[in-house]
Amino acid sequence: MSSIATGLKGRAELGVALLLGVVGVLVFLDANGLVTPYSQSDPVGPKTVPFIVSGLLIICAVLLAINVLRGGKGEAEGGEDVDLAHPADWKTVLPLAGAFILNILLIDWAGWVISGTVLFWGSVLALGSRRYIRDGLISVALSLLTFYGFYLGLGIALPAGLLEGIL
């Protein structure tokens, strides 16, 4: 491992500083691109606040980078179900995000009942439940229940998608 890589190891927080900096630059460029004539009724204009926000972001980015390089560390958040003793478990998070993305792709085409089932079932499996059939049944029931609940109770028509006509 090269020395730079060792220096960066465990400094993943620099990514946060980078993100702040990038957002800061984006806000600046976007505000700079606005064309507005000076108006008596709005002397501040739409640019001022974005400039201030962009400045704040960039200052925070720089200070955070310095803080991290000097050994500062943000404390990871604890909680009832959080066990910080083990490292981040990507084998749970990535399938979970996968189920979420699948739902986004499916919802308008296949409808909420199908995509919602996929979402809940996929999430439960990703989180470690191994009762496939019971989980599947719960997923279908939840999706159907919310579909009709929203339609009948609130007048919100969630997309029926592929099951249009059946539901």
Binding site: A31, D42, C60, D81, A99, F100
Partner: protein
């Protein structure tokens, strides 16, 4: 109008069968989400915003009020029975509360927490009813410059005072302000940060932002660090207290209330400082000092009362000034706007019946909590056993549903995922969530006041200082910003004095040490506030 008669009118509205039903639903829902890890009142109110759009605003706010108090109540149950406080405001309760539960006095701990919460909540709500109209009378005379200054103060104070790293707080605030900028500028119609994406023109829906940061971010974060060993929940029967416990509890309740309300009513007061102050006071005044650290009832009664009184106090700036100082209040402010109600000092005159019904429903919610939840405590304890895969899959499921039902477009879900990832990152690297949410919600309002101020002064920056209140507020802002540097300087010059200095900094660092003593096995870092 006379406070008393307005309040009675409020009770008349809030006690109709329909509204009473919403209060019961709110109280039960609030307690459930308060008990359950990963969920909190702010997120619940955000998720319910699209669902309640069809309701009368009054009914919706009555339910929100129930959720707000219920969440507080549920949080204390969890911290007593589990010793892993989900909310920073119940950290102190866990210290003695869990020791009591382990010693077989869970029923008494829950009882003193519940009754103390009821008493503090009732006194706090009464103070709210008395003080809010007085604040309004004062506030209607304020112009845009003062409002601008007060909002800046609220944002900076929440960012600088709460949380362990000011720098990370400000980073979170800046991100929130940037998110708040997205969309059409209301004055000139210019598109800001839309990147040519027509779906962004209307700005990011606050429901989507709040649900993403609170629910999706939390679910992903917990998934990454899910505790694989089941938590040990202390079984409990029906809460009750003996005569001796009453005798030891009533004074701490009243003292806790006295600490809680003023801190809650201040911008950025929060519940951490008063609960901690109450704990320290009870420890000093108790006749049973030997019990402290082993489960002293005073150490549960005082902080719990302080916590609930602070919750009532928080409603004062929200209703009187339109200024939210915690996450739930911020989402409630967003709810006012989504109903087309303009929050601020005009609220009492323009929406008088609604505001008084809301205040009345706070009294009712408090009473319901005591009535319903004392017998239900064993049920709530069972709820803690809910298998975690179902809990977090359910959070994601309902988060998706809530965010999607606002506009029925899949694009919102993409935003939900992106901001959820941001929420994950913030939890990973210790960026507090509250400044971001306040930035999103207050940012556009602050910009509006700034532009109004400078419009009045024809672009002269001196207009910012044209009202005496504004100047006073800026001085406070300056003190808050400069204080840690002065503190550092003092510490460098007089290292001994710094330890005895009665500052918030030292109070906060001490506040973490009892938490450490309370539970040496888990990390001492506290959550900001359970969403």
């Amino acid at each position: 109008m006379d406070v008393w008669s307005s309040l009675m009118d409020g009770f008349a509205t809030a006690l109709t069968p329909m509204n009473l039903l919403f209060a019961v639903i709110g109280v039960l829902l609030g307690t459930a989400v308060g008990v359950l890890p990963g969920l909190g009142p702010a997120m619940t109110v955000a998720l319910l915003l699209p669902v309640t759009a069809a309701l009368e605003p009054t009914s919706a706010f009555i339910m929100f009020a129930g959720i707000y108090y219920g969440g507080m109540f549920g949080g204390s149950t969890t911290s007593i029975l589990l010793n892993t406080p989900g909310e920073s405001s119940s950290v102190v309760t866990a210290i003695e509360g869990n020791k009591m539960a382990k010693a077989g006095r869970a029923a008494q701990a829950l009882a003193t927490a519940a009754i103390g919460s009821f008493i503090a909540g009732t006194i706090g709500t009464a103070l709210l009813a008395v003080f809010a109209p007085i604040v309004v009378q004062f506030a209607v005379s304020l112009g845009a410059p003062s409002y601008f200054a007060i909002m800046v103060l609220a944002l900076l104070a929440v960012t600088a005072v709460l949380g362990s790293s000011r720098l990370r707080g400000f980073a979170s605030l800046a991100l929130g302000l940037a998110i708040g900028l997205v969309g059409i500028d209301s004055v000139t119609g210019q598109r800001r940060l839309t990147f040519g994406q027509p779906l962004l023109v209307d700005g990011l829906d606050i429901v989507v932002v709040a649900v993403a940061i609170f629910a999706v971010g939390e679910a992903l974060w917990v998934a990454a660090h899910l505790r694989r060993t089941p938590l040990h929940v202390i079984p409990v029967g029906r809460p009750w207290m003996g005569k001796k416990d009453w005798g030891r509890s009533w004074k701490p309740w009243l003292r806790g209330t006295a600490f809680g309300f003023p801190f809650g009513a201040l911008p950025a007061g929060g519940a951490e400082i008063p609960t901690f102050l109450s704990y320290v006071t009870e420890k000093r005044l108790t006749k049973h000092p030997e019990e402290f650290g082993k489960g002293a009832i005073e150490g549960v009664a005082g902080p719990e009362a302080a916590n609930n009184a602070a919750a009532a106090g928080t409603m004062t700036p929200l209703l009187a000034l339109g200024l939210p100082t915690n996450a739930t209040a911020a989402v409630m402010l967003a709810a006012f706007t989504s109903y087309g109600i303009q929050p601020g000092p005009q609220l009492f005159s323009s929406q008088g019946p609604l505001v008084w019904a809301l205040i009345a429903s706070l009294f009712i919610g408090n009473f319901l909590l005591l009535l319903i939840n004392l017998p239900l405590a064993p049920v709530w304890a069972k709820l803690l056993q809910l298998p975690r895969p179902y809990l977090y899959a359910g959070i994601l499921f309902f988060a998706t549903l809530g965010a999607y039902s606002v506009n029925l477009q899949a694009f919102d879900l993409v935003i939900l995922l992106v901001l959820g990832a941001l929420g994950f990152m913030m939890r990973r690297f210790g960026l507090p969530v509250l400044p971001l949410i306040l930035g999103v919600i207050l940012g556009p309002r602050i910009e509006g006041q700034l532009r109004k101020t400078l419009q009045l002064s024809a672009g002269d920056p001196a207009g910012l200082f044209s009202e005496p209140i504004a100047i006073v507020v800026y001085i406070i802002v300056a003190i808050i910003l400069v204080w840690p540097f002065i503190f550092k300087l003092i510490r460098r010059n007089r290292p001994v004095a710094a330890f005895t200095g009665p500052s918030e900094q030292s109070a906060r660092s001490e506040a973490e040490s009892p938490a450490q003593a309370g539970d040496p096995t888990t990390t001492t870092h506290q959550k900001q506030e359970k969403p």
